[in-house]
């Protein structure tokens, strides 16, 4: 059985109320999640207008799918993040399809600069020890660089695992193991903080 934090329990209660059509609960959940989800959308799409359209799609889905949320599978936060990421990837693929028609063959199309930029920022970002994001950044920075790099490409880069292996110049099996080890180590560190 997975332990839940107080915040995860509060989120779960909010999503239950949203499932029953409670707009006040939806508004509260929006306030809690919109910052990180918007940051993720902007990081992946690199365009504020696209990111806002994506947010609208995602929150409307949260509203309509709240009743199907399964707490056994993930926290509300992770569920929303992965939903946002998946919709962002759909948009990036659609964008690439449009570019292929206008610009040329697929080999010319590179992931956006935004998607390629390193997510690990300077030490100055981790100054605020109480900041959840800074904490995760620190944990990510603590991972061996090859694991961190594989996770970054897998999470933000909208590449297949074969493409990640090609990009990093390592065998597919090595890349899979790095993603798995990195994620498990990250989770271990987060749990130790509970």
């Amino acid at each position: 059985m997975v332990e839940e934090t107080a915040q995860q329990i509060a989120d779960r209660e909010m999503i239950l109320r949203i499932g029953r059509g409670d707009q006040a609960a939806f508004s509260a959940l929006y306030d809690r999640l919109s910052g990180p989800l918007y940051s993720l959308a902007l990081r992946m799409l690199g365009d504020a207008s696209d990111a806002q359209d994506l947010m609208q799609d995602v929150f409307l889905q949260i509203w309509s799918r709240a009743g199907t949320y399964d707490p056994e599978q993930s926290s509300v936060f992770s569920w929303s993040v992965l939903l946002t990421r998946s919709r962002a990837i759909d948009r990036l693929r659609a964008r690439e399809r449009r570019l292929r028609v206008v610009v040329g063959p697929a080999s010319d199309v590179k992931p956006t600069e935004a998607a390629n930029a390193s997510i690990v920022e300077s030490g100055a970002d981790t100054v605020n020890k109480n900041d959840e994001a800074a904490r995760v950044r620190t944990f990510l920075n603590n991972l061996p660089s090859e694991q961190r790099e594989a996770i970054e490409l897998a999470f933000f880069g909208h590449l297949t695992h074969q493409e990640i292996a090609e990009r990093l110049g390592h065998p597919l099996g090595t890349v899979k193991a790095r993603i798995r080890r990195g994620l498990l180590k990250l989770r271990e560190q987060l749990r130790a903080e509970l």
Binding site: M55, W63, V136, R180, L183, L184
Partner: protein, 238 residues
């Protein structure tokens, strides 16, 4: 006991990196294995947290208003429709059907246009041609100029030069392709102008140049050099 291979699959699954058939197989395994479900949840939580490393941004306040308005509209639902039959009750349905057909036609038209555009690009050499205008730099006369029509697909081009006086004996003009993938400019051959300072020649770089950013003409030793040595006389981008 969960094998490392299953854990790898779980990590790729939560990130949506498995192929559809692999994902379906993994989901079957998940349904049958509580321990695997726990690992998948652990990995999902870790992956969710990676999002927090994106540079923090705040969405505009207007976005929340927009979303809340839409939610309110969904909650209220459409206005109740009277079931009482009227003589013209079919009109809104007819308009809706016509609009649906119209939208379908527009979609088909768009797909057709996109396909045609792609075919035209492939068939029409002009649409595969990039034009570069070369302007003079210091040692060249101020009114010297050149235009390059470059076809990356064919790896060849045509250059037209005007008002560039013939070089002194023992020297030649040499054309260079500046390519993003090559450290040094790629030679595209020696070019000889006539007595009026005009040349129009077809050229082909000595190496493959797939990402040409600029063309340049330099003054080199007679017969040309493998690597640029002399001063640039004309240079230009697309």
């Amino acid at each position: 006991m969960i094998s490392e291979e299953q854990q790898d699959q779980a990590a790729l699954y939560v990130l949506g990196l498995l192929e559809p058939h692999e994902a379906a197989a993994f989901e079957s395994a998940l349904n049958a294995n509580a321990e695997l479900r726990d690992i998948a949840r652990e990995l999902r939580e870790a992956a969710g947290n990676v999002a927090l490393t994106a540079p923090p941004r705040t969405p505009p306040a207007s976005l929340k208003q927009r979303i809340m308005r839409e939610i309110a509209m969904k909650t209220e639902g459409p206005a109740p429709v009277s079931m009482q039959r009227t003589p013209f009750g079919w009109i809104p349905w007819a308009i809706a059907a016509a609009l649906a057909v119209f939208c379908g036609l527009l979609t088909l038209d768009r797909v057709r246009l996109e396909r045609e555009l792609a075919e035209t690009r492939a068939a029409d050499p002009l649409m595969q041609t990039t034009f570069f205008t070369l302007a003079p730099s210091a040692p060249a006369p101020a009114d010297a100029k050149a235009t390059v029509a470059w076809q990356p697909g064919r790896q060849s081009g045509v250059i037209r030069i005007s008002k560039l006086p013939a070089p002194q004996p023992g020297k030649d003009y040499q054309l260079w392709a500046v390519d993003a993938e090559h450290k040094d400019p790629i030679s595209a051959g020696v070019i000889r102008v006539d007595k009026n300072g005009v040349a129009q020649v077809r050229f082909k770089p000595v190496e493959k140049a797939e990402h040409v950013k600029a063309f340049a003409i330099s003054l080199e030793r007679e017969g040309g050099v493998p690597k640029k040595e002399g001063p640039i006389l004309l240079v230009g981008t697309a």
